[in-house]
């Protein structure tokens, strides 16, 4: 439980040029991939002040202010590539909006394609776009977590992200201590360990 979290500096969209954004819904199994990936990335690495790592959740249009302030945008998400489950894919540049809109699996993707389009209209589309997507195995386990196949791809997704970031001149530093609750990327209540441990062993599985 986080009870006294306040860190305006982390939340203020003022001074960054690189945005690492996880989107998706942690409540729907593999739909949570994007969030779990940024959570794991942020737990292991720290970044310079020009980088923001955020949990965008299921937000659509309200992510626009974040995206517009970024020159470089790296997105983690679960994407329907029509490939075998747990296939990981890196998409770059103009292909990113196409992939986010081609086969919408989820609310936030409808919204996010519009976010990119709105950013473009406003003249603030990030110069660099990258999407690290995973093909989900299962979505409709309500209250469930990542399937093992998809969970196993998180380290590979992070490795891909570090390559992209390196290319962008962003250096990641391995953290030497655990994150304080104030510095988590999302509410501690939804952190993967509490989320999985807090699930009742009976009665809560709606599959």
């Amino acid at each position: 439980m986080s009870t006294a979290t306040h860190n305006v500096a982390d939340g203020d969209p003022g001074a960054y040029d690189t945005l690492i954004l996880g989107i998706g819904n942690v409540l729907w199994a593999d739909e949570g991939f994007g969030i779990r990936a940024v959570e794991a990335l942020h737990a292991r690495y720290s970044f310079p002040d020009n980088v923001r790592v955020i949990d965008g959740g299921t937000q659509g249009i309200f992510l626009l202010p974040w995206v517009r302030d970024a020159k470089r945008l790296l997105i983690f998400d679960a994407v329907d590539f029509d490939l075998p489950p747990a296939t990981l894919k890196l998409i770059r540049g103009d292909d990113v909006p196409r992939f986010m809109g081609a086969k919408k699996m989820s609310m936030h993707q409808t919204g996010f394609q519009e976010v990119l389009s709105s950013a473009d209209l406003a003249g603030d589309l990030p110069e660099e776009l990258a999407l690290i997507g995973v093909q989900p195995e299962l979505l409709d386990d309500y209250g469930g977590s990542l399937r093992d196949s998809v969970r196993k791809m998180v380290p590979a997704a992070i490795a891909l992200a570090l390559d992209v970031l390196k290319e962008w001149g962003v250096h990641a530093t391995v953290r030497d201590s655990a994150l304080r609750s104030n510095d988590l990327v999302g509410p501690g209540e939804l952190g993967i360990r509490d989320y999985e441990d807090g699930r009742p062993t009976h009665g809560g599985d709606a599959r």
Binding site: T58, I61, A122, G204
Partner: protein, 598 residues
Amino acid sequence: MASVSTPNGFDLDTSGQRIVVDPICRIEGHLRIEVNVDENNVIRNAVSTGNMWRGLEVILQGRDPRDAWAFTERICGVCTGVHALQSVRAVEDALKIDIPANANHIRNLMMLAQFTQDHIVHFYHLHALDWVDVVSALSADPKATSDLQQSISPWPNSSPGYFSNVQNKLRRFVESGQLGIFANAYWGSPAYKLPPEANLMATTHYLEALDFQKEIVKIHTIFGGRNPHPNWVVGGMPCSINVDDTGAVGAVNMVWLNMVKDIIEQSIAFTDQVYLPDLKAIASFYKDWGAIGGGLSGKNVMSYGEFPAYANNYTNESWMLPQGAILNGDLGTVHDVDVRDPDQVQEFVAHSWYQYSDENVGLHPWDGVTEPKFELGPNTKGTKTNIENIDEGGKYSWLKAPRWRGNAMEVGPLARYLVAYARGREDIQAQVNGLLEELSLPITALFSTLGRTAARGLEASWAAHKMRDVYGELMDNLKRGDTATANMDKFDPSTWEADVKGVGFGEAPRGSLGHWVHIKDTKIKNYQCVVPTTWNASPRDPAGNIGAYEAALLGTPMANPEQPLEILRTIHSFDPCVACSTHVMSNDGRELSTVKVR
């Protein structure tokens, strides 16, 4: 059965041509509308289907009630804070926790900011393009646009050069062939009535509203510590405040509080100098829509009340916008709404993809059951994974049918304004009367698509001004030396009673929102959310009463059924957000943005 009269006073005729619009939302949401039109293309039957399931009630069973707010925030792509607020209120109610005055003020500020932001985004980014022809804006004379702008508002961005720049930017965007966000519209339709200059002015403000969004969300970041998912806590607000630089590191200090004050003033300026003048200018060309799309609004409307002036007082002596229900259009009698009364708020599932042991009765949310059952009526055309025409005689929506004392109700800004008006709230009456006078419209014009859109604009301005008042109260309280923001006395589950129930209720931008929780042995036993869009987009109930969307579409003349602009205008006037009502159930998430005429 081609023709039938519903108990709530509407005539339905299913004999004409069937039209399907799926999905209906410009940016967010999954909603399908089917209508039948007669030989004159007037809508004679309407069917509203929420085609996703959310599963939240199931997910929360057995979880820690103190965490519920964080889960409920993830349901919706638009309004995170409103679910978090009702969730913490529900748990505080169950555990009899009083929150400090500062927490109440801060929650009010965050919610008022949410209302202002949400209404602006709705008007410019989700609804305006139903009225504003972006392509027509390309042929506007920037000088004439400047004259128009200066005649209606002191807003400084009004020079011919400014509008010319915007027009060039827009032209490049349109000519690039990637209409993107403007793709799903019917440009050039004769249903668009604005002159090119008004189209350019409104499109320009579409862009300015995108910029303004960046400012107003900072209020959530400052008090919630994080955006887009601010922190909340059962017992108050999880931020400490430090007005004299002696408090904890990371506390909200005067620099941040001054920034909040600046954003509030910007919000007032934007709603009063941009949003409201645009609304009036656009409305003056669409006055006929003051007689279209009324549906339930002239009959049954409801508000739970919102923005408590006094901490822990959720009654009309405290609500800045009052609770109440109006039945059969009788503005002279406002009924009290009690969300705890088992006979008042009930949900039915006879036409919903859920099952109860007896589907003729409704269940109060404390006794609510959310058990999915996907089956199609015998007259469905198509298959389970590819429904061509839904059968509204059977189960046909992932939304339940909530009713108040058995009545289908409309909720939202218009409902709130009608309840406040009928309750004699002078601030609301002054706003409403002033607008009607300026547009030379009768009060009955409120019961319409135009009325819904107008009430939202008035409320955005009201909310921006209220932020200024609440900010003053917060600062006064802080100066008196009270810096408490949370009451953690009963945070520890060992202090809780074994078996308790609570309800968190209030108003979200889209309408009445309630979370009902039953806590047993420190875990959630049952959790039910009844959300605004479930009220408005509700399917029929066992008695045959139709919901607010369905009612509002009846009688609407369509210029061309292949271009269902009229359906979009009315449904969008409700600010539909089905994300929180529903979620993907089918594995086939392939999305179609199509109109089908059958």
